[in-house]
């Protein structure tokens, strides 16, 4: 049995009609809580992530207000510690990683030409778990139970002896939720990318963004277990008296740091690599030419993925490590500049040799390059062990990490949203507002964070709730706070643009930017089933290839069937039926949520969780027994 090449009559209208019925979104409660459409789930993910982004951003503004002048009394240390911890934790765990994965979950099935992700119900489960985790953190914060030991929660400060109450337990369980969600998303992305690609999309034809998400997903799979193990140990230390981090009984405070940074450093790349995917996509589209050095780009991504695991120790230079290890990790940390450099050079070469169309998304990319390169350079500085001894844990590092994370990820992300908004919403965003946003964003950002380099060198440590007037840090901090306000304005402008787009934006065509990837071949916004016909891919840039491509026929259209292809060459292998909408993922997530939150208070929470999740899990997997009937296929 194999797929057959032919020239046939294709009845688009009938197929579309059948698909509309088969893939119809459920209504009512089921529609609200039971949908498994990857686009709906992804949009919910993105919107939730941006809500968290906005909330954490408000915290950032509070912090900047507090730091605007010396010995300010706006917030006390107790609240301030909660604020910066919740800000950092939210940005890292509830915004950056989820939003990147969500972009992947939205775009990857579209880009590889399939109808949904590989495990649609699991995908929905991941979202609910994430939402519960986020609600837990913020609910706790509003109840004055927000974690207060910093986003890296160093023990013993975060340990049972030094951190009373349930604040850190909330943090540890929030980690459980978000890591679960991230891992689910990663598995989705890996399997979708490897097994659900359209026929002909061999690995060397996969769009760079999909490559970036694939590398990211693999990094999530190998990095997240470290924080899973660490946060489990922390929770156990706090709840059942284990001694993983109790120095007296043979535990070790540095074990936490090793485990945390073995996750924490790859985490930075987990956030950054998808952004390079956005940049590659945008550069390619607006340079109006294929990216220069596709193989080099892919290899750089993979190299970055590997190297990302080799430099966690550069967060620990000040702990007094053996000199040899120090040099090794310095070397690894600085070498990662090379693959990153390759990517930047390829983008520059692409822009240099293309016929550049300057549009708002590209402006984001320009802001990205200018900012990210600076962040990368300060990264090389903190990678150098001797320099790090001066720079570590100061505002220089605060500056560096925001250059990398905002400059390196948020700028491309906002650009990407502007870029894909037509596809997602079916309407065009305002170009002028977009350009204004970029300008204010860029200026606000530099004003906020550039002075922090100087502050760090001047001796200002991070995570201080205030500082003495005689330190002389006042003026620069004031400048930074003004910049932060501007940054806030820029974010508001962006939100305004999105709102305006959704209400007033001009209707978007299928491919308004003239891009090359498959998502632009379907309607804007895409239907629930993504494509009327699964396309057949014959080049790296299917939409830039003439004539219009071959399509797949013969899939069942009365059930949610997708085509499974081989992992390397995307040769059609078999047809596979996906699961439809159901409440069970939501119920399972709720049950698990109850269990995990109970585990903040008692170890029996684990048992409660297992018992509660069992019924919905059985329901989830127990066959409904109705899907076998009928064999309507896409007719040729």
């Amino acid at each position: 049995m194999s797929a057959e090449l032919a020239v046939r009559d294709v009845d688009d209208a009938a197929t579309r009609a059948a698909l509309e019925v088969t893939w119809a979104p459920p209504r009512g409660v089921l529609g609200l809580l039971g949908t498994v459409n990857h686009k709906v789930v992804a949009i919910r993910y993105i919107v939730s992530a941006f809500v968290f982004f906005a909330l954490a951003g408000v915290l950032a503004l509070v912090m900047r207000a507090q730091l605007a002048y010396p010995e300010a009394r706006l917030v006390g240390p107790d609240l301030y510690n909660q604020i910066f911890t919740v800000h950092g934790s939210t940005m890292m765990f509830l915004f950056a990683v989820p939003v990147m994965e969500a972009m992947g979950l939205y775009l990857v099935p579209l880009m590889v030409g399939t109808r949904n992700v590989a495990f649609p119900r699991l995908n929905a489960f991941g979202f609910w778990i994430y939402l519960i985790g986020g609600a837990l953190l913020w609910g706790a914060f509003l109840l004055n139970a927000g974690p207060d030991a910093g986003w890296f929660a160093y023990v013993p400060l975060a340990g049972p002896d030094q951190a009373p109450g349930k604040r850190i337990d909330v943090w540890a369980q929030m980690i459980t939720f978000t890591e679960l969600a991230a891992l689910v998303g990663a598995v989705e992305l890996v399997v979708t990318t490897l097994k659900l690609r359209a026929p002909g999309m061999s690995l060397n034809r996969v769009p760079l963004f999909v490559w970036a998400m694939l590398v990211t997903a693999f990094m999530v799979i190998f990095a997240m277990p470290a924080i899973m193990v660490a946060s489990t140990m922390l929770a156990m230390d706090r709840l059942v008296d284990t001694h993983f981090f109790n120095v007296a009984e043979g535990g070790d405070a540095l074990l936490w740091q090793h485990l945390f940074w073995f996750f924490g450093h790859p985490e930075v790349y987990i956030i950054f690599i998808p952004a390079t995917g956005f940049v590659s996509t945008i550069v390619q589209t607006f340079a109006r030419r294929p990216i220069v050095g596709y193989p080099a780009m892919v290899l750089s991504l993979i190299a970055t993925g590997f190297l990302g695991f080799g430099l966690w120790v550069h967060h620990m230079f000040a702990t007094g490590l053996p000199k040899l290890g120090e040099s090794f990790f310095t070397a690894a940390s600085m070498l990662i500049a090379i693959p990153t450099g390759v990517q930047i050079f390829c983008w520059l070469a692409t822009l240099r040799s293309g016929r550049v169309l300057v549009r708002a998304p590209l402006l984001y990319v320009l802001a990205f390059v200018a900012t990210f390169v600076l962040g990368g350079l300060s990264g090389v500085m903190v990678a150098s062990a001797p320099l790090d001894l001066q720079l570590h844990d100061t505002f220089f590092v605060v500056a560096h990490l925001h250059y990398v994370l905002i400059g390196g990820s948020v700028f491309p992300l906002l650009g990407a949203l502007h870029y894909w908004l037509p596809k997602m919403s079916g309407r065009m965003p305002s170009e002028g507002l977009g350009r204004l946003t970029v300008a204010i964003l860029f200026v606000g950002f530099q004003l906020t964070f550039f002075p922090m380099h100087q502050l760090g060198l001047a001796g200002m440590p991070r995570r201080v709730y205030t500082y003495l007037p005689e330190t002389g840090w006042g003026p620069l901090n004031a400048l930074s706070s003004v910049g932060a306000a501007l940054l806030g304005v820029a974010v508001l402008l962006f939100v305004a643009n999105v709102a305006w787009t959704l209400r007033r934006g001009a209707r978007a065509e299928d491919d308004p930017w003239g891009a090359d990837t498959l998502e632009w071949s379907t309607t804007s916004p895409p239907p629930a089933y993504n494509f009327v016909h699964i396309p057949v891919v014959e080049s790296r840039h299917p939409l830039w290839t003439h004539p219009s491509p071959r399509v797949v026929t013969g899939l069942r259209i009365d059930v949610r069937e997708v085509l499974v292809t081989d992992a390397i060459d995307a040769v059609p292998d078999h047809r596979h039926m996906l699961d439809g909408p159901t409440l069970y993922p939501f119920l399972t997530a709720m049950a698990a949520g109850i269990g995990i939150i109970t585990a903040i208070f008692t170890p029996w929470g684990i048992t409660v969780g297992v018992v509660l999740t069992l019924p919905p899990l059985i329901g989830w997997f127990w066959p409904a027994g109705e899907a076998i009937a009928g064999t309507t296929r896409e007719k040729a």
């Binding site: 400060l157 294929p290 220069v292 007094g320 070397a331 390169v373 150098s384 003239g514």
Partner: protein, 333 residues
């Protein structure tokens, strides 16, 4: 971007060199030298990248929204590939050079040693620094807090220990930081090349008053240092007037004595800083307040307002007792 760089230069000029870049010791000096290398490399790279970017984007070429030509000219493509390769190679060379410089400085930092050096043991507490000067004769040891005196031009071994959570000792003009980690003994060598008072601070987040966990390193001539050390070795002087005597009674019978030590009196508790020579110190409350009677009074009466969350409770004393206590503490030179 160049505007930003300009502003950096202006800031550098305006505020004077920041602490980490105005070294007072060989190690901070070496790091500052390394910083200069990294900094100028960074400036060049950033300027080059941004310039190239702007040039690439702003070339006056009218773009058209047509399908791009996929079959590129092989020659142009090869030139581009060559350019990317060259830039990559250059990056690699620069990175390796920076790496070599880093490793050399690491070596140099580790080279500071001296036999029989003055040894200072520092314990990090929430939120103050306990300082002990080591001596082979136990009775010659000196305990103080939040202020370290060192002789200029001599290498000093600083041994570090944490008593509760992780702290990090950082005196930017002298050296980079070194963490104080429970269960891990760490140490560093410092040397001051010139006399002066150098401010330092805890650099690892350690709880509520991380912000106000400061210390002062005072580098002075050997003679001055020896005199200081000799003074520190003496027990607290007996109070000479009635006011101070009453102050001592307030100290010994009230809450003070169950947290603090004054050598020469029965007060020998270790929860708070050793106050034997309190009046000889420059600052109060771990570098937070200048050591004046007014600030001291404010600190005793309501430390929670000055450093919320600090372990010292607010002490309710009536005016006369407070004045007496201040007189006594003021006599502890």
């Amino acid at each position: 971007m160049s505007a930003m760089l300009l502003s950096l230069v202006l800031l550098l000029a305006g505020c004077g060199a920041p602490a980490a870049l105005s070294p007072a010791g060989p190690q901070a000096g070496q790091i500052a030298g390394l910083w200069a290398v990294f900094f100028w490399v960074s400036v060049v790279v950033e300027v080059a990248v941004v310039a190239f970017l702007l040039y690439a984007v702003l070339r006056a070429r009218r773009p058209v929204l047509t399908l791009p030509a996929l079959a590129a000219e092989p020659l142009a493509e090869r030139r581009l590939t060559r350019g990317v390769s060259a830039a990559t190679a250059l990056t690699a060379i620069v990175v390796v050079a920076l790496l070599a410089a880093s490793i050399l400085v690491t070596r140099a930092l580790g080279a500071l040693h001296a036999p029989q050096a003055l040894t200072v043991e520092i314990a990090g507490h929430q939120w103050w620094w306990e300082v002990e000067y080591w001596d082979p004769v136990p009775s010659q040891r000196v305990r103080t807090a939040n202020e370290i005196h060192v002789p200029v031009g001599e290498a000093v071994l600083v041994k570090l220990r944490a008593s509760d959570v992780i702290h990090s000792l950082w005196v930017p003009p002298l050296h980079g930081k070194k963490d104080l980690i429970p269960g891990h003994a760490t140490s560093l060598w410092i040397k001051a090349d010139r006399p002066g008072a150098f401010g330092g601070q805890c650099a690892e987040f350690c709880g509520y008053q991380h912000a106000h966990m400061r210390l002062l390193v005072i580098a002075e001539s050997r003679g001055a240092f020896d005199a200081w050390l000799a003074r520190q070795r003496r027990p607290a002087p007996e109070p000479t007037d009635a006011q101070a005597r009453r102050g001592r009674d307030v100290f010994l019978t009230g809450p003070c004595a169950i947290c603090h030590t004054i050598v020469g009196t029965p007060a020998a508790a270790r929860l708070g800083p050793d106050l034997t020579h309190l009046a000889g110190r420059t600052t109060l409350a771990a570098g937070t307040l200048p050591n004046t009677p007014g600030h001291l009074a404010g600190w005793i009466i309501d430390p929670q307002r000055i450093k919320p969350g600090v372990h010292m409770p607010s002490i309710g004393l009536d005016g006369a007792d407070l004045q007496a206590l201040l007189a006594y503490l003021g006599s502890l030179k």
